[in-house]
Amino acid sequence: MDTGIREKVQSEIRKVVIGRDKEAELLLVSFLAGGHVLLEGVPGVSKTILAKSFAKCMGLEFKRIQFTPDMLPMDMVGGFVFNMKERECEFRRGPVVTNMLLADEINRAPPKVQSALLEAMQEVQVTVEGLTQKLPFPFMVIATQNPQEFQGVYPLPENQLDRFLMKITLPYPDSSTESKIIRRNLDDMDTAQVNEVLAAKELEGIFRQVEQVRVSDEIIGYLAVVADETRKEKRLSLGASPRAMVHLIHCARANAYLGGRDFVIPEDIKSVSSYVLAHRLKLDQSAVLTGTVADPSQVVQDIFTKVRPPR
């Protein structure tokens, strides 16, 4: 079992993005878990360059869509155009047909476009006027959004957020990292410096190995207790869905694989729990107003602190 992938990816991404090792690791975990990621952060915290560098590391076909409020689903999934020469309509693929799609500023797209993308994420296929096209394997969407924008945006509703395996929030870097970023930007900073870490043909084998990672009954029982706690939690008005728990176990498997193990331990779950669960939970408004809680990740951490894992 290859345990050096995480370090290789982090080292390649470090060539262009400084101080984002944890985020690079989480992207890798999501990718191996077969999920999609929502990157959230204010402008200029390296969301886009991180996504681009990661795609480059994986050596897969990469496309980017810059979402705008006037977009149509056809701009993304493709559509039929009339070929004057052949005198017939032909299907022209949209940018969604790729391995890795960067959906930049997803919350600027209107709900129709968002739902078309989310359908592609869920079904791994697109349907245009009865013609269904399978998306290539592997398929991953890395969407970005700016939490500070309130005008001209369409916030993703809960059911759509639930489709994202992880939400990774990119905070401002600390001052020493920021100094390094400023210095680095005096020189050239280009994703061309990033080398491929994995060959496309290796991926299928790796995904198969991740799927074979063992999850004991006790670990599943532990997750069921955690799910129940989120639903009983008074500070939440919406707890974790069964899909959230399935996503969590997929991430735990990928985490175990990257840790060089073929079985999941409670730590594999705990270390990604906030990223997988927090964006799906809804805080109870009375708890927010009374100042009891401000961030769902805090609730997730409290629950994992309270629930005894199998030891």
Binding site: R214, E218, F263, V264, I265, P266, K306, R308, P309, R311
Partner: protein, 122 residues
């Protein structure tokens, strides 16, 4: 006189209980050794939450200066986890090191209580 006798007996009783508590437990295998370590951590390490994981506990103990053969402990833990969660066979050996760590945790706490903070009894 009677009061002094009572005081002496109470002290002797407390010492006997304390000795019992710090006597190494008899364990058959690595699983029992880790179960004992779990009891020691839950009972004697302050502010450990119910949801702690083995990795977190090891980090905590290392950071608080408990001396142990950590590479050996990590290897024992990896073997135990492979058995516990990975469905492997119970590994032979390794329990002595785990019991030793468990005892250190107990003695260290007694050391804190008896001698004041910062005393390490190895």
């Amino acid at each position: 006189m009677i009061a002094i006798d009572i005081a002496v007996f109470v002290l002797l009783g407390a010492a006997a209980v304390a000795m019992r508590r710090i006597r190494p437990p008899v364990v058959q295998d690595l699983q029992e050794a880790f179960q004992d370590l779990d009891r020691s951590i839950t009972k004697f390490v302050p502010d450990v939450p119910a949801g702690y994981t083995w990795g977190e506990a090891m980090e905590r103990l290392k950071a608080s200066g408990v001396k142990a053969d950590w590479p050996k402990m990590e290897s024992n833990l990896a073997n135990y986890e492979a058995f516990r969660y990975g469905g492997r066979e119970m590994p032979a050996g390794g329990e002595d090191e785990v019991v030793k760590l468990s005892m250190k945790i107990r003695r260290r706490i007694f050391g804190y209580r008896n001698k004041g903070k910062g005393s390490e009894r190895d």
